[in-house]
Amino acid sequence: MNIVEATHITKTFQQGDIAVQALKDVSLSIEKGGFVALAGPSGSGKTTLLNIIGGLDTPDSGSIVLDGNAFEEMSRSQLADLRLHKVGFVFQAYNLIPVLSALENVEYVMLLQGVPEKERHDRARSILDDVGLENRYHRRPRELSGGQQQRVAVARAIVSSPSIVLADEPTANLDSETGKGLLEIMKDMNHRKNVTFVFSTHDRMVMDYARRLIRIRDGQVDDDVTKNA
């Protein structure tokens, strides 16, 4: 069963007087429980594709269906609801809320979902334990290393059990050891909770971890390889 169905997606950005076509008629589907890497050089369109799949950006043409929800039929508010309940995001620059502690950053998504305080608290602690931050609950982002911040970001992305986690260059700012640890955590989540992970990356290690590798070049799918388990 596919969790993402992208059909004939095109997207053009205007850079001054020049129109840059970031995606050219891209169609792909991603199966539920997948561990997928969108790989390609900078400017290939992988982040744009990831943003469109997550409903952060809209395509010029084509359609996206995520977990049975067709984006073109949804309002902004409905898209926000869909992101809140079904999509988790991990960003290259971590993007944690600087005035909230690690625990509060993770809790915040559940607060938006209306999860009761006690449950929120318990789940946030449990997920931080899972990513190895059991002694860092009350640290603010600036008091955490880059790897720890990214682990908080992963915890935030998966705490509300989304259908899919979209991770944009999650290891780009991390050293290889920290990056590997983070990938292990995500792989474990993928196994244990059947959460679909889609990465945009040009990190060799992420490509190696992925079970399916989709290469993007000049806004088009250049190669799509599923590895044997």
């Binding site: 943003n51 952060l56 902004r76 926000a80 609801d81 992101r83 509060e104 915040y108 607060l111 938006l112």
Partner: protein
């Protein structure tokens, strides 16, 4: 956690928060100080006017106010006295007076003034004239049948002093010219020199004798205890006295002051809004800066599923915290300042002539009411939130990708 987040956000940049808080504090302080001064001025005007023989309620014979001559006197004093006893609350005080226009003269000068016949003991309870008002000589007593009290300005004008003679002429009840020589018993001072020039006081019995008005009086002046309902008491007196008598409150007698007081609240509101407009630019600018600085963060929050309205709510919550904090500090500063100034008063003696022309007291005691403070805070907080809607909506309108691209 929304409030916690908003509270922490406003302290992310303590210097900026301190600047905007200072602007709000100064704004609120300015609003309240000007209000307190103006209210002090108006209180002084009312107090002066009430104590300068007006009292809070006056009773006259019908027709006296339009033609204040001796013929329009009240002769049925018993009815008046019985009514006052029945209607007035226990701690109310009142005084009977005879009041006519007269001409005063001595060897050096002559001029018009108002001759007021008083009962010394009761008069000092309802108006400024009493032992404390005496600059020279002494206040009238029951034995002073030929004594007269004149104001300092009159004494200067007539170049006279205590112990000297002053002759007064007026029309009596028989339409004849009545005149009598008085010995100056005391020279009084009043808040305004116009009062000193206008009034000369003699004993009630002396005035009656001079004007051939054995039982009559011109007016009754009443002071009510604090908190008593002025209009209700006046209505009860009107109903009880019936035709032939006219009952007026000080608001009806002093129509110019009443009109000023009615305009006062409108002026205050206008002043609040004008001050806020100056302050509002600072608030909107600072909030915009704060919003643009965190645009990337708003993008992340939207990506996580935060709805635009929730971002508006978050920014407005921060604004409300700043406005409440600034208003509270501004209130505190204003209350302390007004408290200090109210204890000593602001002496306008050097401007006395101009101040008197405007009907002001020589010393102004700034005063604030709960309503003044409430209105100033309401204007600041309400309009503050309104101007912050713009930056808040701006923050909410960007798409997550646009916002996250913000550096």
């Amino acid at each position: 956690m929304h409030c916690q987040l908003a509270w922490r956000n406003i302290w992310r940049n303590p210097r900026r928060t301190a600047v905007i808080l200072t602007a709000i504090i100064i704004g609120v302080w300015t609003m309240l100080m000007v209000t307190a001064l103006m209210r002090g001025v108006s209180n002084g005007m009312v107090k002066n006017a009430v104590s300068t023989l007006t009292g809070e309620i006056q009773i006259h014979a019908q027709g006296y106010r339009s033609d204040p001559v001796i013929e329009h006197s009240m002769t049925d004093i018993q009815t008046v006295e019985n009514t006052l006893t029945d209607v007035l609350p226990e701690k109310a005080v009142y005084a009977f007076r005879i009041r006519v226009n007269a001409i005063a003269s001595n060897a050096r000068h002559s001029g018009g003034l108002t001759l007021v016949g008083i009962v010394p003991d009761t008069e000092s309870q309802v108006s400024f004239i009493g032992p404390e008002a005496m600059r020279a000589g002494r206040y009238l007593d029951e034995t002073d049948k030929n004594g007269i009290l004149i104001g300092e300005a009159t004494a200067n004008k007539f170049d006279t002093e205590v112990g000297k003679k002053l002759v007064l002429m007026s029309q009596d009840t028989a339409d004849e010219m009545a005149s009598r020589a008085f010995r100056i018993t005391g020279i009084y001072t009043a808040e305004m020199s116009s009062t000193e020039k206008q009034f000369a006081f003699v004993h009630m019995d002396t005035a009656r004798d001079m004007l051939k008005l054995p039982d009559g009086i011109s007016e009754v002046c009443i002071l009510l205890p604090d908190g008593e309902n002025l209009d209700r008491t006046a209505s009860e007196l009107r109903a009880s006295l019936g035709e032939g008598f006219a009952v007026h409150t000080w608001r009806e007698i002093l129509s110019a002051i009443t009109a000023y007081l009615e305009l006062f609240d409108g002026f205050m509101m206008l002043w609040y809004v004008v001050t806020f407009i100056a302050m509002g630019f600072g608030i909107i600018n600072t909030t915009l800066m704060s919003v643009f600085e965190r645009m990337r963060e708003f993008g992340v929050l939207k990506a996580l599923g935060m709805k635009p309205w929730w971002i508006v709510r978050g920014v407005l919550t921060e604004s409300v915290f700043l406005l409440l904090l600034g208003s509270a500090a501004g209130d505190l500063l204003s209350i302390v300042t007004v408290g200090v100034l109210a204890a000593t008063g602001i002496d306008l003696s050097s401007l006395a002539a101009g101040a008197e022309f405007a009907g002001l007291s020589r010393i102004i005691y700034p005063s604030l009411t709960v309503t003044d403070v409430g209105m100033a805070n309401l204007v600041v907080c309400l309009l503050g939130v309104v101007v912050c809607v713009y930056p808040a909506v701006k923050a909410a309108r960007f798409t997550p990708v646009e916002a996250m691209a913000h550096t």
